[in-house]
Symmetry: C2
Subunit: 339 residues, 2 copies
DNA sequence: CCGTGCTACTGAGACGTTTCAATTCGATGG
DNA sequence: CCATCGAATTGAAACGTCTCAGTAGCACGG
């Protein structure tokens, strides 16, 4: 009635369970006649392998967990696509988990994934070095950090040079003549955000005579960007920055909306540079300048490192891959393109 | 060394495996002293439950599969969030799978999910009634259709009245005086798209004296929308439609970009109405009018129906829940709001 | 006809958990 | 002191698969 097992297939086909298993896993060692008979029976009975049993037997599953900070951010979706593309080639499944920037949620997902004995975990952690993550690794689950460099050599990581990204944005704005710049970021406890700030700070300091003020928002969302925009728009003209560098594109989009709502023109009254260069950045009210990251490549490379580690843990040496971002200048920070 | 099992915990704590299992699952029946001792041992050894074994024993997993047409579409991400919110309350995990509109990919995901013996599957199927899905149900995996009404009473479904949505958009454009309207849609094999077209068609026919032309694109993506926009922009002024209704917001955003690139003003030269009202619609170059669907509620309700079915299959009666969409008018179709 | 070597197949054991009937152990009451 | 009872604990079976040592059968050469 319910799902037939390998045993029932064996019985019906008149062979042993071992033979059915062989048909499934190493068909070439089974005589063609037998193989055919078993395959027919499988179809007839509608037999479906029980992954849980395989998994229990094998000790490890064929699943990889991917824990991201925000599924609503298309940046992470692209990272996931990259990871999944490679996973497909390895007959592996990717489970996407959303921590939403909450360490507690992150912990819950890690628990679940560890209980599932996943092959490994790709994660953009909420905090840099949680003990939870450390114990995970200690107990034998390979972890690859995504979009964040590993502090120690204890694990692999794939990241983008966020300091450089911040510097690119800062230098660009300084070169366009801005002397009052604001940085709108998410919580500085997120390493990427802190690094981007450090980058823009360095660029500004080198330039000299340029002020940089920081607005730390609780999240990296469109709503937070809108709130930040409203606060900045409320400043008197004289003290209001003329350019803003946002910690990611969601913030930038929100900020842009606020500018429109408050009647400030972009880029005339306010230049904006975002981060990530998500697809929607180019489609915004005013096309957004943004620091581009190789999103899919990030995910794909992380999965590559993980597969490498899983396939030969002995030979594997942890590596820190760091990509370079580049700046895409569009209308939001370029007066020459504006009407 | 490796992950300790319940057996090693039992040994170390000087109890039987049954007792450890009881501490884990029904702690109240274990004497406090023993319970404490076992819990200490668990912590000491870093014991982590093996979900595969539980699952094998239990016969079914605590996971639900959610198969969507396009993860890059924020609409489905919101649906997923709604589903996950409820899943959390039931201590259930959601696995998000992306069919990308490809029946083959969809089939692969369904195979994987069935092998995992998931509790159930929430799916926006590529085609209306695939045999693959039917056999899944026949073999005992509960399926709830999402964003699509079930043709027969054989399963639950949660959907939005797409015909009504199309009608709202059509009526709106007709009322604004448009007499040449275009529908830009994804493949009409997708039921939602066909229904939206049917709705707008009905609205146009009722109005009389209004022409509707259809442009069927291969996908519901920003790129496809851009391509559609370029084709329509290339038409001579006299025969070019003055308004377009796009099958979803991604198409609409792409279409909007093409208008800007070709020098056509929105809404003056071309009015645009999208579908889904994703968050980015409001942040577009010209804020998009769009037909809004209760995205999270869609996911949450689907999960509710599934849980209901799983918890008491006997008492469960399949239901078709249908929500009403509504139209959000913004600048892209409203001359009075444009500068 | 026997030994050898091969191919094809068999069957038991193990993976880690849950469950449940069976057992042990004290305490209580007669 | 024995019978009884309840609480606490035990131990084995079962879930479905894979693996591996073993067996059967056959062909071939000597």
């Amino acid at each position: 009635m319910a799902n037939p097992s390998i045993k029932e297939v064996a019985q019906r086909a008149g062979v042993s369970v071992g033979t059915v298993s062989n048909v499934l896993n190493r068909p070439w060692i089974v005589a063609p006649r037998t193989r055919q008979r078993v395959q027919d029976t499988i179809r007839e009975l509608g037999f479906v392998r029980n992954e849980a049993a395989r998994h229990l037997r094998a000790g490890r599953s064929r699943t990889v967990g991917l824990v991201v900070l925000d599924v609503a951010n298309p940046f992470f979706i692209d990272v996931a696509r990259g990871a999944e593309a490679l996973a497909d080639e390895h007959d592996t499944m990717v489970v996407l988990c959303n921590s939403d920037g909450d360490p507690h949620r992150e912990g819950r997902h890690l628990d679940q994934l560890e209980q599932q004995r996943v092959m490994g975990i790709l994660i953009t952690p909420v905090r840099t070095d949680s003990p939870r993550l450390r114990s995970l690794v200690a107990r034998g689950t390979p972890v690859v950090l995504v979009d964040r460099a590993a502090a120690h050599g204890g694990r692999c990581s794939v990241s983008v040079d966020d300091r450089l990204g911040g510097r690119l944005a800062g230098t660009h704005l300084v070169e366009r003549g801005h002397r009052r710049i604001a940085f709108v970021g998410g919580p500085l406890s997120i390493q990427q955000v802190a690094d981007r700030l450090a980058g823009v700070t360095a660029a500004v300091e080198e330039a000299g005579g340029v002020s940089l003020e920081t607005l730390e928002m609780p999240t990296l969302s469109v709503a937070a960007g809108r709130a930040a925009g409203e606060r900045i728009a409320a400043l008197p003209d004289a003290s209001r920055p003329t350019a803003v560098f946002c910690g990611n594109d969601l913030l930038a989009l929100g900020f842009l909306q606020a500018m429109a709502a408050q009647g400030l023109r972009v880029p005339h009254d306010m230049a904006i540079v975002g981060y990530d260069d998500i697809d929607f950045a180019a489609a915004a009210a005013v096309p957004l300048s943004s620091v581009r990251q190789p999103r899919e490549l990030l995910g794909r490379t992380a999965m590559e490192l993980l597969q490498e580690e899983v396939e030969d843990p002995g030979a594997h040496r942890h590596r820190q891959v760091i990509f370079q971002p580049d700046l895409v200048v569009r209308e939001s920070s370029d007066l020459t393109r504006a009407d």
